[in-house]
Symmetry: C2
Subunit: 681 residues, 2 copies
């Protein structure tokens, strides 16, 4: 009795005995080895490329001889001639087992490639998209056994791929017959099955074997910016990224102004809906152009957004979100046709997935952050802060997760700041002030040099220094405090009080001159007392939200802090703590998650399992409503000081020296003086 | 121990003991008695009206005392004052059990009323529509337990009506929040669940309890006419019926001309699609106006149509239907949004159901005939003939059902006939010719008088006699045969040969003068030799189809014949047999089913179970393709004679005398003469 040859797959280590003549693809399937194939083993798609290894493998206890696989065949020869097959590679569907063999499946031949790897917890997202390509051979019509072309395509998908039920939208049904005949009864279909779908849906159909790719958009629809990633749905690669301003800004800078606009102007909600949809259509075309693909190759889009953006995208009047009890029209995730949202620049049958909302003030963007950062899987207590025009906060661990939102306003994004601007080349993003000389130095976006370094002006280029962005103003205010130029109440001193001519009077208050480019026709950039007040309001709202969640959780400290948000990656943890934006923790316990909401959108785009997961997670998150909680106001007032008034900050004290200054003693000057005068009237 | 009172329901006979104080509606539900309620027993909808009976009921063994039910209460009083409650009626949700009682549920309080009763087999269709109204009370939003309004509406439907999952299209989601607040957290929803749907879908939402009704359209989309019934979805009542010409006629009279138009003219299919959709939209508005409802109350439409109309309605190029193997793009039934078909005059979320097609030449109209006539349930062998521009034939019994279509052309509908016209007032629909005098008499549509009756001219009115319609020309040709004016080959004799001056020469052939109104400025209506040839071609195609099915079934006779089609009801069975349209059966075995396809559409509209049923039935029907069957041509040639050349017709011979004439003997005249001359050249 002879034993069938042994086939060992790496890196999985799966092994089994197979009769001589078994194709490697067949062996892989029987063992559950992750080896890709779009054409079902017909030697067309070349997705099942493998690398045989030859020689002695003591670890595996086998010797692989040169004739362990069948000879290079005509199909492989043709493929190599036309497209080229890398050295040592074989097609898994053509090469058959002849003897014991070790087969390596390279990453690009795996379906379930890891795509989004999270550094923090080592967790990896594997490709498991809702839409995939399938190649099938369809039975020709027979007058004597009449059935529709769609029904025979369904039979083929069932028999060749085990897909039980398929449906086709009208756009596909209209091109079905031509595609089948042009492909001589072979077609490639883009099949979609959402996490709650009972059946697969054909999103597109191509004659014969389709070499093209299909793409999805991960869209972070923010109040101020719409950012999108064009993602290859076969491997998760981001092909192009782009952002545009949300054109709704002309109807109101923050969310509540837009809700008010809808309330005050009949049809105002429709105007805003049309504006944002048009912007997304434009962005879609731009991304396709940048990615050098046809927009019709985009078959899916995933949206994350706050509740007001959510309703305005859907065309739902957001009026209920502007008043207690802040009722959402719908809170669950949504799966829709792109055409239902007027998104006409994608494939005609493209699908849209919108992540679930947590509550009336905590939206799908917060859900996306939860999906990306998974506080529910954190053993230690983590505070995740997604900084934006509206800040979302998540506090939790494996036991419990709390969420709230806090109306920080747009100051952190450089708006409402005298020299503020959006993050763009020329914007000051890093600031240091020497505590002894009180002289500043700074970096601008687009250059790695400090402003005091030789060659800074040349390196900064034509744009020069144009203004100060969110992370820049945060650092500037914190540095003013560290340099003793601003007191704990947020009041800046005069030139006399501080001993530096950079403090210049501006009305009854003082400003700090950060940069004067007027001699060269550039701007004069100062940090005004008004700028500091705006930042104080924003950071107090953020901190008060965090404190409220900590109260609800019954804790005074958190184990770690994650800064998320479009500019979360750019905030200096030290300066955030000096400012009192976040609770006091050891500095190395503050990490940046970058645009976690956008990452969450990409995860949901690449993994249909993640869609189920976030729906479950969202239902377990406990929502805390800041708008009606009296303690929020109390925390807000206490958080006005820099860092803050009542909570201790041992970690910060160990790290930096906070000068003991008070600029409220001068006669008549400052806010306190004004208040006194007013009281004496 | 006392026994709870006995409650007996009629007409169901269901009975049970219930504690004193049990509402009658509750008792009915527990016993599974069919008692309607939209408001769930809240005394709002009045759908649960019942009639208690008092006195001795020896049959049931009970005596019902005057106090068997609770007293008339304030809810009933208010309802009676505002809307009036018929004498003896009570509201089932208000009246409670106090003693033994007999309760009659009147038909209008039953949900599952019988609506379409078939005379032939006594089978009744009970109301079981896909869309129904439900009244619910929805929990108000709570900031501390945030959830969307849709999710709380879903909870209410689950808790109050046992409906597990609901979805809402965008159009409903957009009006959801306003409706809930306007109705003070009570709403009525129109819920739809198609026969293959996993979830209920909200098609519309109304604040509070909605008194209005919801409607559906049953649409018979024919090549020549589009006929529709506006049907009340609560009780199946037809509120209005109307028909319009299919505007596609301008692209071709019959199906193949339209397929050719699509093939010859790029974009021609789109033109035809747009034309038919516009006509349906117009018809929708007209029907709503006639039925005095708002078009937005129409939440469903069911379509039956032949395959070419099917593809053109869906916007699919019908080119494949014009050539073997006549492949349909899709053959299964379709459930769609009305908007996907450009049907914009109904409710924005209205749903469309299209019956399945049997084959490339036998469409959803034939499926609808099968649903209405159920040959698969017939113990005897029945031939069902749906007469139209294209005829559909079904032959079968409980063992087996065969189907085919036959290209009769439009002659049976009055087209291609010299004095032909569509069935309309003034059209001749009945014809008799006295065999001895050879004088005709006729009836026109709109009058019950024969043309020879006194007062005919006055009764016919202003329209007078305008032409001859399908059933009229069939009778005329058969009567010409019976009167000895036309021979078995279809050739008419001259005045000399026949002895009547009504035979007038027309070129080399003769016409029969049926009516001469020229003296009064009216038309001169003749039956020409060309008219007879057109009818012969049409009836030969029909008969050949029937014979082909009989061959396939292995029979020489059928047990009965059903004439269906828009004008099937108007065809005289005797004349149809004289003409040789249908196989020879006893005259009383020929019945008319009226517009069976339209009836099938109504059944599918009123019963979601019927949709499942017809899908099963259609898969069991064996299709015979006439276009490629050589025997079809043979049968067609043999069927040219009147009645026909080769098959015996004992039943017909027993019924009428067919004169033994032959007008082919005259020198030079007639077709045979022409043939001879041509051969001698």
């Amino acid at each position: 009795m002879t034993t069938d040859p042994l086939v060992i797959f790496t890196p999985s280590g799966k092994r089994g005995h197979f009769p001589v003549g078994t194709p490697i693809l067949t062996a892989a399937r029987q063992l559950g080895v992750d080896l890709d194939s779009v054409c079902g083993g017909r030697g067309i798609c070349s997705k099942c490329q493998i690398t045989p290894s030859y020689g002695e493998f003591p670890k595996h206890g086998v010797t692989v001889h040169d004739n362990a696989l069948s000879e290079w065949n005509a199909v492989e020869e043709r493929y190599d001639t036309i497209r080229g097959l890398a050295e040592g590679r074989r097609l898994g569907c053509q090469a058959t087992v002849q003897g014991d063999v070790v087969i390596d499946v390279p990453p690009e031949s795996q379906v379930h490639r890891q795509v989004v790897r999270k550094a923090v917890d080592g967790r990896a997202i594997v490709m498991d998209p809702a839409t995939k390509l399938y190649y099938v051979e369809v039975r020709e019509p027979d007058m004597h056994e009449p059935s529709g072309d769609l029904e025979r395509l369904g039979d083929a998908l069932r028999d060749q791929w085990g897909i039980p039920v398929v449906t086709a939208p009208m756009s596909v049904l209209r091109k079905l017959q031509k595609a089948l005949r042009k492909g001589q009864w072979t077609v490639t279909v883009a099949l979609h099955k959402g996490h709650q779908d009972a059946a697969h849906r054909i999103l597109d159909i191509f004659p014969g074997f389709h070499e093209g790719r299909i793409y999805g958009l991960a869209i972070d629809l923010g109040s101020t910016t719409i950012a999108a990633h064009l993602t290859d749905l076969r491997n998760g690669t981001v092909k192009a990224s782009a952002g545009v301003m949300n054109p709704q800004i002309r109807f109101g800078e923050d969310l509540m102004s837009r809700v008010s606009y809808a309330m005050m102007n009949p049809g105002g909600d429709v105007e805003m809906t049309n504006a944002v949809r048009a912007a997304i259509n434009t962005l879609t075309v731009e991304l396709a152009k940048e990615g050098q693909i046809d927009p019709s190759q985009i078959v899916e889009a995933v949206f994350v957004c706050n509740p007001v953006m959510h309703h305005l995208l859907l065309g739902i009047d957001p009026v209920e979100l502007g008043q207690a009890p802040f009722a959402l029209a719908t809170s669950n995730s949504l799966s829709l046709d792109a055409t239902e949202l007027g998104l006409t620049e994608m494939a005609p049958a493209a699908r849209v997935f919108i992540l679930p909302c947590i509550a009336g003030h905590v939206g799908a963007d917060a859900a996306a952050v939860a999906l990306a950062e998974q506080p529910n899987l954190s053993p230690d207590l983590v505070l995740i802060v997604d900084v934006g025009t509206n800040a979302e906060l998540l506090l939790g661990n494996t036991t419990r997760v709390l969420a709230c939102s806090s109306p920080t306003g747009p100051a952190f994004e450089g708006a409402q700041i005298s020299s503020g601007q959006r993050a763009a080349p020329g914007a000051i993003e890093r600031v240091e002030i020497d505590p002894s000389t009180k002289e500043p130095r700074f970096k601008v976006i687009g250059s790695d040099l400090w402003s005091t370094d030789p060659g800074f002006a040349a390196a900064t280029g034509a744009s020069g220094v144009t203004g100060i962005c969110g992370s820049g103003i945060i650092e500037a205010v914190a540095e003013l405090r560290l340099a003793g130029l601003m007191d704990p109440k947020g009041l800046m001193g005069s030139a006399e009080q501080t001993g530096t001519a950079r403090m210049i009077p501006e009305g009854r208050t003082h400003s700090y001159l950060l940069y004067d480019g007027t001699a060269d026709g550039g701007p004069r950039i100062t940090v005004t007392q008004g700028d500091i007040r705006a930042i104080q309001l924003a950071k107090s709202a953020l901190y008060a939200g965090a404190r409220l969640l900590m109260d609800e959780m019954g804790v005074d400290v958190v184990d770690r802090v994650v800064l998320a948000g479009a500019f979360g990656a750019h905030i200096s943890p030290k300066h955030a703590m000096v400012l009192g934006m976040i609770p006091d923790v050891p500095l190395d316990h503050v990490t940046s998650a970058g645009n976690a909401a956008g990452t969450g959108a990409r995860i949901a785009l690449c993994s249909v399992a993640a869609r189920t997961q976030i729906e479950t997670t969202v239902r377990q998150i406990h929502k805390v409503e800041t708008a009606i909680e009296p303690k929020f106001q109390e925390h807000f007032v206490n958080a006005n000081a820099v860092p803050h008034a009542t909570d201790p900050f041992p970690n910060l004290n160990a790290l930096v020296h906070l000068p003991d200054v008070n600029f409220n003693t001068s006669s008549g000057g400052g806010e306190a003086g004004r208040r006194r005068r007013a009281a004496n009237r």
